[in-house]
Symmetry: D2
Subunit: 415 residues, 4 copies
């Protein structure tokens, strides 16, 4: 292992800088020890940290130091800058120093020289006693480029003056540019573990589960035992039942890939039929409802809590129209729950987040990043978010967890 | 006026093509009469239309014909193609024919010649008996370019086979790339008209009205008489009251531009205080609540209907916890309403859309295009959408409608 | 077959109303013939259509008539309204008339009576000579409800006054609430068909293909022969090569589900290494590049056109830095292309849409609906859009098309 | 001032917890000193902090302690829990303890008792030797509720196991739910300051500036001296010039609130006309171009750098078609710049972010949060984001900064 010592000074904690430094060390496969940490006692005081960082080899440690410099960390003993000659136009030497967009100085012949035109992702070309950034496309054979991290220091940005108020600095944590297939498999594994521990999996879902054609996948997950309790509203159950009852027309529709539109009278007829039967369970018993998610829940004796909202038509007879009573029923349903997954619903996700202990892991899946961030903003700090397509996500989860599930089963097919 | 005769054949109605042709004529400042219309009797039959189009001058009519060609309409008597010589490299002649991306033929010496490499926004260069598209940057001095629309015909795409099912063709009607300031003024005018007719303006709002700092603007609109009745949930009223009661801390917060985060105990304390007072109106009477939107509504004796949802904390004592009772109260509140405006709430917008007669004009304002399209998908065909920032929109509306409103008043200030 | 005759009057074509009527008939499994069509000659004239509609049975035809009434179409001979008695509180009779939100009249004892309080998805209760809408939850045993469509007429909304200008009416065609798995299979089939016809498949891709972990799926598609030519920018190729070269650190990263962040120096080092090798193909030959999408393209002798943009670092030596030259290379690459698929890139999608003949089918896949609608707004009317997650979409497409592709192969694995 | 001592243990730095604790103290108007900080030396070691917190009065300090408990910080000397009796059904005592969703214990008679059913935003009811959470709507007269923060401790969540990899925790920093009008005024002030210092303001803009009708506002800002240099692409300039040249048709269009659609041949004719004139400046000189943003820039002798992209039509003669040359021109344009504002363009924003020193403050304004976060992800850590509507934002900025600017001037009007 090769080690170097770096130091950093500033508002290390409240700005989150030190946290990012430590993150980066681990991400580069390195290790660290914090040798000194002098904390700023008051909001105005700066802190100081001295760290030893370790990596496998010398090249890695040099690259890690460059990386940490983007946060304002520098070698305690930077030494002298080394340069190599460019051999081909438009190509940097292999171990070129890759710049940040911070003010930077290089040590040439014992003197610290400022690098002109700070710009990120460039090299540093040295000519006489001057140094400046240069883009790779502008470098020419014979240029002297700074290589490695020694002899280079960056000057961190001054701390932001909090008293000035103003808007937040940006840092994104929720993005659709993540490897979703991998996340899906992590969740599948988490679900298997929870079931082995004998604990329950809570699902919270919105009607897009049906609209995206994922009902058959959801049915497969119910049958495979991965849906112990479902929190939803009138809409998920209504559209699921509508698809099951009006299979000829809307089933065909779903198969042709056209979206289910509201304004059709199907949904209000579906609601009326269940109201006539008395409840969803009675509609199953009476042989009226023979397919779909709600049918599967009833058949496999799984619990569900449907809580209404002001936009509901009907509603179905199983729906709590009083939201406070609905909250009580949801609270009662939490007993034994070890994992919660929320798909495609902002209203019921936030409602569940409100009553869920922080100790229960919680995953929120939605194509809309806003749903995911709103949940976290509302206090559910343990929430993890996946921004993805619900239809494909549930299909893949069913393929992973439900043995025998064939992709592309007909939506609305009797299970 | 100059006129030309164009014809078009195909699935003109079900595909919406004829509708787009007529739209474009008006948009180009032209006029039309439909001379012949032979309708396809069954779903498989094609239709045929013969139109006379009229514009101010010959240049306009040529350009309009080119435009209509993008839909597959052609001159009935296209004549011979005219060409002009390019005078400068990289510059088309003034009246060059601007291509579509459809298959195109040009009549040269009495023969219809196909244009090679169909590509939109190009010219057509003719060399001997061949013709091909050319980009403006590739044209060279001396090239012969087709000018005007005569002698050019496009071959419309075959109709989509509906039986093949499949996904929808794209056409966007809701976009943030619209001149919002203008729309705001149109709405202001519509509101003035409605008030002059002695009818009521219904507002439906979400908590982002408060979060975006627009509460003072909203208060000004209440005071100016443009808010007759308000439909909302627990959240708008709670955050408004929270801002009024905890002005020192959260007021400062709003002023510094930091977002109001949930998870603070302020909102639940605010709710508790109003529950203790008995109702919002009693809190105003008892001098506990002295500012904000709800205070203004009470003071000016305006109605509001607050309907709860499953995610509510508390709720406030004025909130209907039974959603069906809440719907009844909302229905009762519709009497006399002549205009509805929905800002920053999907739940209550859809709920109101559900009960609103189509005869009442309805505007939906939200930064999220999904809210706006969802409303229309749910059957409120009369809905008009504005995708914009609620905070700035309400501030500008207040500047327009509320005499004496000063921009940037302190949120949470007593009215 | 049962048939009924309906009529509709108004701005049937320019408003798109007739198109929606015909759509709905087919969607309900019905058939039609247009018996009379009197077209409005000028923009101000109304049109009139008389249609015979046919369905399998009488219940269907009644429901279809109700549906068409939402657009303002009515039975030519509506007859007298029928009512049935409600048997259970909160339950409508089976064939209840389901309301629209339009002004409605019912014929009672030979007189047309207006229905009070127009509201959608309600029933119509008749008491003496009055009729009003009623929600299902409010209906009581003994109430007389209108059943079937006879004796009911709706009054269509007046046409919108175009001269008033103003904002557009909303109609959404692009939505994430579609059955994506089904669409994916339709595309797979389309690709198989194109290959059987001996034509090429053009891919246009953005870097999110790599960021979402879909590179192995993409590699599998290349190997299975479904990627004939690729249009992309510097970013897709750079991040793909970066993942292949820095497998140990970033490969692990991708596998752990952390997003690839820019600002790391990896990407600029990856670029530098390829610049040193001379080109991507030479890097493959020299054994430097041994995995990833670009490697697969080179190995299988597939063409790619990389066109740069102003935000590029480097760029890679294969990248056209002159965008007009890049456009020319893309045009040359279109020869033989029979199908185009665009994934996760707005810039290159629009660029390709600009040069693509309308006769080449084109699918645009993106998690952001804006990309999809922007493409259509820019003139590519043949574009079909799928709003979904790129990572899951490509994984499923690979499972469908690439025999032997195992889900969840390691990103960055040598092929 | 009242003070209390709190302590917290765990992965305080890498998890960002301590940073959030310090943030909250300041946000509640409090002050702190860090009395002890024992840093975990290695990635596996926990850290420990002992803080003295100070607020104005005892009520504030109790509420601040409750707030800090949401992060796992507790009083060092918690003492015994106090309870008060509930006087009215559904109303908590004034100083009730507001719960977190973390595991919590209360000290009753010297014993630490776990609180059953952890749920946030509730009270804690004590009955005999047991304690449980209770919602405000469930509390009944006579219940004993815990009040104040003494005698209450929360058990922080265990640190996340990093080696398990997995998805990120959610934390949103960019949101449209911010007081935008206030942010706008902060930016206006920053611009005034920069101009007083004699430094330049750099604008980076996309075509939505024109599409949203903000061109007149932008012209006013140019004239008022707040636009020193503009970086953009072909599209902004083209659509601006198109609006100026085809004022009759498209000007009307903009005024009626219809979006400008591409596919019209106007834009390619506009480009052709400027190509014929030789350059934008020559078109101004020749009297061809008499209004719009580009005209104002030329008239006031302001610099602009237009860099092309692969999707460009034309392009305009002023556009750099080679992106590397374009980057060089942009770099040259940075001299003297003291502030950068980016509106409605992802491509040119990222491009400018790439070359901008971190020392230049940078604001990114876009209706799409993705643009704003992408900029930060690409390494521009100093970037501040505002998610808002460009049209309204620029109109308000012009009202603030450009004396005499009248809201709602006609787009395309000669300046």
């Amino acid at each position: 292992m090769i080690s170097e010592t770096v130091e950093i000074r500033g508002h290390l904690i409240d700005s989150g800088v030190l946290s990012r430094v430590l993150d980066d060390i681990l991400e580069y496969g390195g290790d660290y020890s914090i040798d000194t940490f002098e904390v700023g006692k008051t909001p105005l005081d700066e802190s100081y940290a001295l760290l030893t960082i370790r990596t496998e080899d010398a090249v890695d440690v040099a690259r890690l130091v460059m990386r940490l410099q983007t946060h304002g960390a520098n070698l305690t003993d930077p030494g002298e800058a080394h340069t190599s000659e460019v051999e081909t136009d438009g190509v940097f030497p292999d171990d070129f120093y890759s710049t940040t967009n911070l003010e930077t100085v290089v040590r040439l012949g014992g003197t610290w020289v400022p690098v002109e035109n700070p710009e990120m992702d460039c090299g540093i070309v040295v000519k006489g006693d001057r140094a400046r950034t240069i883009a790779v496309s502008d470098v020419r054979r014979g240029d002297q480029l700074v290589c490695g991290a020694s002899g280079v220091k960056v000057v961190p940005l001054p701390a932001i003056d909090r008293s000035a108020g103003g808007f937040e600095f940006m840092k994104s944590d929720v993005s659709s540019e993540k490897p979703q297939a991998l996340l899906m498999r992590q969740i599948a594994q988490q679900m298997r573990d929870i079931k082995e521990e004998g604990r329950k999996i809570l699902w919270v879902g919105g009607p897009a589960v049906v609209h995206t054609g994922a009902a058959p996948a959801m049915v497969a997950l119910v049958e495979a035992g991965f849906v112990d309790i479902l929190f939803a509203g009138n809409a998920l159950a209504t559209h699921d039942i509508e698809a099951a009852l009006f299979g000829t027309s809307l089933g065909v529709d779903l198969q042709q890939g056209r979206g289910v539109e509201h304004g059709h009278e199907h949904h209000i007829r579906a609601i009326n039929q269940i109201r006539k039967a008395g409840s969803i369970a009675q509609a199953v018993e009476q042989g009226i409802l023979t397919g779909g998610i709600m049918h599967a829940m009833v058949k496999h004796r799984k619990d569900f809590v449907l809580v209404g909202s002001v936009r509901d038509d009907g509603p179905l007879p199983d729906v709590y129209t009083d939201v406070i009573e609905g909250q009580r029923a949801m609270r009662a349903g939490l007993a034994g729950v070890g994992f919660a997954i929320m798909v495609a619903t902002m209203l019921h996700s936030v409602a569940t987040g409100n009553i869920l202990p922080a100790s229960i892991p919680l995953v929120c899946v939605d194509i809309n990043p806003a749903t995911v961030t709103k949940l976290a903003d509302r206090g559910s700090a343990q929430a993890r978010g996946i921004v993805t397509d619900i239809g494909l996500f549930l299909e893949q989860l069913a393929l992973e967890l439900a043995p025998g599930y064939r992709a592309g089963e007909r939506p609305g097919d009797p299970a």
